[in-house]
């Protein structure tokens, strides 16, 4: 927990605190993301070969050719979509159990990042599908459609969070959706095995190691780089959610204080008016 929120206030004067959501941990993760991204670009565009295998006819070649380089974004984005939305479901479940606001904010932060990564997965999948499957979108493909349903479910989760409500009610109802939506994650992930005749997607090549060494290395590097980026942005987003809640509660407290002050003025006026005997019977 301390990596997300930092240590409790110590002896350090608050005036020395910088006005942003960064810390030493996020700076290390940010630099690691940039370094990893450079390595990923080198592997993806220079070192790794195009996907090409001998075809059924003599002299012919089949495969994804250079379009495989899109997989170095698409596949890690899909993996971290599952992870982010799974984390949202886990944090939502713990919130329903323990009712801690920490878990509600973690669920919110991870859901927002998960929806973003799911959008990246869908877009890169569409762009990859055009040259390889000769279509931007295939409604008959169960993996594509279930991924879209997953995206819409958690986009709905974010929409639900933006509906004005008491913080506890909003956290409770969004946590229920956060937990329920997680049912889709294994369905999306396993859809190509469960409905193998209703998909253009190939079955898992990573689990069976049916791909070349450098391609596999670049895929794993992509997953690692996307993972470091995910952690970096998750910490920033969690802290932003914390700030939003602080501002919201400060606004509520200010409004309550204003109401109390108004009520005090009215009572004082009423007492004063009653004391002089003018209008003491007014409603």
């Amino acid at each position: 927990m301390s990596i997300l929120l930092g240590r409790p206030p110590g002896d350090r004067p608050p005036s020395a605190a910088p006005g942003h959501t960064g810390s030493r941990a996020t700076r290390i993760l940010g630099v690691a993301t940039l370094v990893g991204l450079v390595g990923l670009c080198l592997c993806a565009f220079i070192f790794s070969p195009p996907d090409s295998r001998p075809g059924p006819e003599p002299g012919s070649r089949i495969g994804q050719f250079d379009a495989v380089r899109l997989m170095y974004v698409h596949f890690p984005a899909a993996i971290w979509t599952y992870s982010a939305l799974g984390l949202c479901a886990l944090a939502s479940g713990v919130y329903l159990w323990r009712r801690g606001v920490w878990w509600d904010r973690l669920a919110h932060a991870s859901a927002e990042i998960g929806v973003l990564l799911c959008a990246v997965t869908l877009l890169t999948g569409m762009i990859w599908g055009r040259p390889i499957w000769n279509t931007w979108w295939e409604w008959g493909d169960v993996r594509v459609v279930t991924t879209l349903v997953l995206f819409l479910t958690y986009a709905g989760y974010l929409a639900l969070r933006s509906v004005p409500a008491a913080p506890e009610a909003r956290a409770r109802r969004s946590a229920i959706l956060g937990v329920g939506g997680a049912v889709l994650i294994p369905i999306v992930n396993r859809s190509v095995e469960w409905w193998e005749n209703r998909t253009l997607h190939q079955q898992s090549t990573l689990e069976e190691l049916r791909i070349e060494d450098l391609t596999l290395f670049t895929l794993v590097l992509g997953i690692a780089v996307m993972g470091v980026f995910f952690l970096w942005i998750l910490i920033h987003r969690f802290r932003l959610a914390w700030l939003e809640a602080e501002v919201e509660s400060a606004g509520l407290e200010a409004a309550l204080a204003e109401r109390r002050a108004e009520a005090g003025e009215v009572a004082a006026t009423g007492a004063g008016a009653g004391g002089t005997g003018e209008g003491g019977s007014a409603p």
Binding site: G6, P14, R24, H74, V120, L243
Partner: protein
């Protein structure tokens, strides 16, 4: 390189989405930090 346009579009759109989101989060964090007392921002007390 085959499919160069698709590869450029895929990487560019992904980078644009992720970088835009990250910049939005960082800027919003800076803006809201000014409205919350420093003692309520626990991570600000970590060693830099």
């Amino acid at each position: 390189m085959t499919h160069a346009g698709y590869i450029a579009a895929g990487w560019s759109i992904s980078a644009a989405l992720l970088v835009s989101y990250a910049v939005m989060i960082l800027l919003r964090g800076r803006r809201l930090s000014g409205r919350v007392p420093a003692r309520r921002r626990r991570w600000m007390t970590t060693e830099d």
